[in-house]
Symmetry: C2
Subunit: 192 residues, 2 copies
């Protein structure tokens, strides 16, 4: 599955043949088909593993960088920057998967939707903890910046998409928490 993930991510799903995965991993064909009924099932399993690992990594990378919820919202984009500039960045695997399996009722699409919902949920929790007046609204705005940065980094070749998104996020966050819970937030912001 690690090999499948690596090859699917770097070369696409349709372009990656079963044989290539088997050859590179040293696994026999019957072993693969004993664990997965078909290539599509393997793809779904790989995506589910990717979802778990990516969200765990994102959470860790954010918490490693910042303590307060508001700073963690911004740290999201520093984490993205780390991802973008990594040696093997080929965009968001779920965006890529949705591109290849475009039909809206495809199981692959459902897994991608779930992944995005779960990431959004994490951002919403941070937004709520940061004192946003409407956490859901702020989270969805930041989600747009995150996805946008990912796409621009993939196509444009990394560059500074993450930091530009971070700057935009600062503006949006400032506007979203303005006036919300002033008794708690204002003094903390004053000494920042």
């Amino acid at each position: 599955m690690d090999t499948a993930l690596e090859l699917f991510y770097a070369n696409g799903f349709h372009a990656t043949g079963i044989d290539k995965i088997l050859k590179q991993s040293g696994v026999a064909k019957m072993t693969l088909y004993n664990h997965f009924k078909s290539k599509d099932q393997l793809i779904l399993a790989v995506l589910r593993r990717r979802d778990e690992r990516f969200r765990a990594w994102l959470k860790e990378a954010v918490e490693r960088r910042a303590e307060t919820p508001r700073e963690r919202l911004l740290a999201l984009f520093d984490a993205l920057e780390e991802w973008f500039n990594g040696p093997d960045f080929f965009g968001c695997m779920f965006i890529n998967a949705s591109a290849e399996f475009a039909k809206h009722d495809d199981p692959v699409h459902a897994v991608a939707r779930l992944h995005k919902r779960l990431v959004l949920s994490y951002v919403r929790d941070l937004a709520a903890a940061a004192g946003a007046a409407e956490p859901e609204a702020l989270a969805r705005q930041l989600e747009l910046l995150m996805e946008g940065a990912t796409v621009v980094a993939q196509i444009g070749g990394s560059s500074d998409a993450a930091q530009r998104a971070k700057q935009a996020a600062e503006t949006l966050i400032a506007q979203a928490v303005a006036g919300a819970q002033p008794s708690l937030e204002r003094p903390l912001l004053g000494i920042r």
Copy 2:
């Protein structure tokens, strides 16, 4: 080429066989290979046509909706909404193409990069005309929102991604033009 564009867009590049394009379009195989040396060349030609048509459509859709540069920046997102809710929306074809041809030096990738640069250029012109202090910076922020909205609309199933992006754009635009060219912009904004 119209058929190829339709099938590539709806089903992906690798998943769409030459035979399916030929059958649906009624074109003979030798005719295709007489005009294009290979499938890859056809893909590149299709993407270039898509680039021209999409940018022409975007420009028209924006100018149809708004007169002033600032309003046109916002109209970008209304245009996107129209696109997202259209009958045959399968995300951005260039994002999809970059997903399938992930290698950074692939010719497909180059065409996608060029397309994004040209769209960004259009947004930058609007941002400059709208009186942004730093048109390039604002354009890149709005670009993030546009790409993000496209991805969220594709994966999440349209929803209200475009309008949420528009709201975020209002905040970013307001911040980017604040204080810039006040003698020209302020009176106009006052009567708006």
